[in-house]
């Protein structure tokens, strides 16, 4: 079903619910039972929806705190090119053994 047809079907269903509210009350959780049961459904739905979000958010905060100190110097080496170059120097090996046949070793 194309997106346009899906939207049209949703609109028609909503219109039908408005025109015949008894049909919309067919849900046993929302339209049936006692107030206590409906309240229990609503609270449970809200709790089970929000709890995983809260756990995920808390986990991200915990990871962020643990990573905060270590990530502080993440880009120092990359940005401080001059200091990095001063600390690092390339040394050519002087004692490379000669190759057989008098060939010169490749320089790269």
């Amino acid at each position: 079903m194309s997106a346009a047809r899906r939207i049209a079907a949703g609109f028609a269903a909503s219109l039908l619910g408005l025109l015949a509210p008894a049909l919309a009350s067919a849900c046993a959780a929302c339209g049936g039972g006692t107030d206590r049961m409906r309240t229990a459904f609503l609270i449970s739905t809200g709790f089970l929806s929000l709890l995983p979000l809260a756990l995920i958010f808390g986990g991200l905060i915990w990871l962020r705190r643990r990573a905060g100190a270590r990530m502080a110097g993440e880009f120092i080496d990359r940005d401080d090119v001059a200091a990095t170059r001063a600390r690092t120097r390339v040394v050519e090996p002087h004692s490379a053994p000669p190759l057989e046949g008098g060939e010169q070793p490749a320089r790269g």
């Binding site: 049961m37 229990a40 449970s44 709790f47 709890l51 990530m71 120092i76 600390r87 690092t88 490749a106």
Partner: protein
């Protein structure tokens, strides 16, 4: 021919590493894995308790709990709850001693924590035997079904967590306990300990 970079700095090995390698991991895989498991189990028990609450509220007033079913032992389970909470506190003290590199004190506290946890499981088992003898079974009523499902699942988690803690205790005594292993065992036991008061409040009271 190869070019060899000599690093001048605090350490040859450290300076030759990339920045990300030098930074190291900021969260151990053991802890993350246990955290994900605990997250899944929290959602599992949340579903159980939500179902229990809805069934309880859906019942006809005065019919929950059913009059022909034995009442849950609130007082004795309260004592068991206190034992479990003490177990959690002792494990926290063991963790502090472990971080202070006082292995003997940590092992003693952890051992006591395991004993209190085992006492909780055994006493709960004794209550189960009594309830079964009095007629509360898995199929006798909805409250029986929910009780054995929720409390049984918690007991299963408690037993597995105790086994894990026992292994950690042996490794601690042998001087081979890794911080991440201890952290994961703690996380699992804290989950078992902190979940129980919610179960006690909703199912028993």
């Amino acid at each position: 021919m190869t070019a060899r970079a000599i690093a001048e700095g605090p350490g040859l090995a450290a300076a030759s590493l990339t920045p990300s390698a030098r930074r190291g991991r900021f969260a151990d895989h053991t802890l993350i894995g246990m955290g994900l498991f605990v997250f899944a189990e929290i959602m599992l028990f949340s579903g159980f308790i939500a179902g229990f609450i809805i069934s309880q509220r859906s019942a006809v007033p005065g019919s929950w709990p059913p009059i022909d079913q034995p009442r849950l032992p609130v007082a004795s389970t309260g004592v068991n709850t206190a034992a479990l909470l003490v177990s959690g506190l002792l494990l926290f003290l063991a963790h502090r001693a472990y971080r202070a590199e006082r292995a003997t004190v940590a092992a003693r506290a952890m051992g006591l924590s395991i004993l209190f946890g085992a006492a909780f499981v055994l006493l709960q088992g004794r209550e189960w035997v009594r309830l079964l003898a009095q007629g509360l079974t898995l199929t006798s009523s909805p409250i029986g079904s929910y009780f054995y499902l929720i409390v049984g699942a918690h007991a299963l988690h408690a037993v597995i967590a105790l086994v894990y803690l026992g292994c950690a205790w042996f490794w601690l005594r042998a001087g081979r306990l890794m911080p991440q292993t201890f952290g994961a065992a703690q996380l699992f036991w804290y989950f078992v300990v902190l979940l129980w008061p919610f179960i006690y409040l909703k199912v028993y009271l």
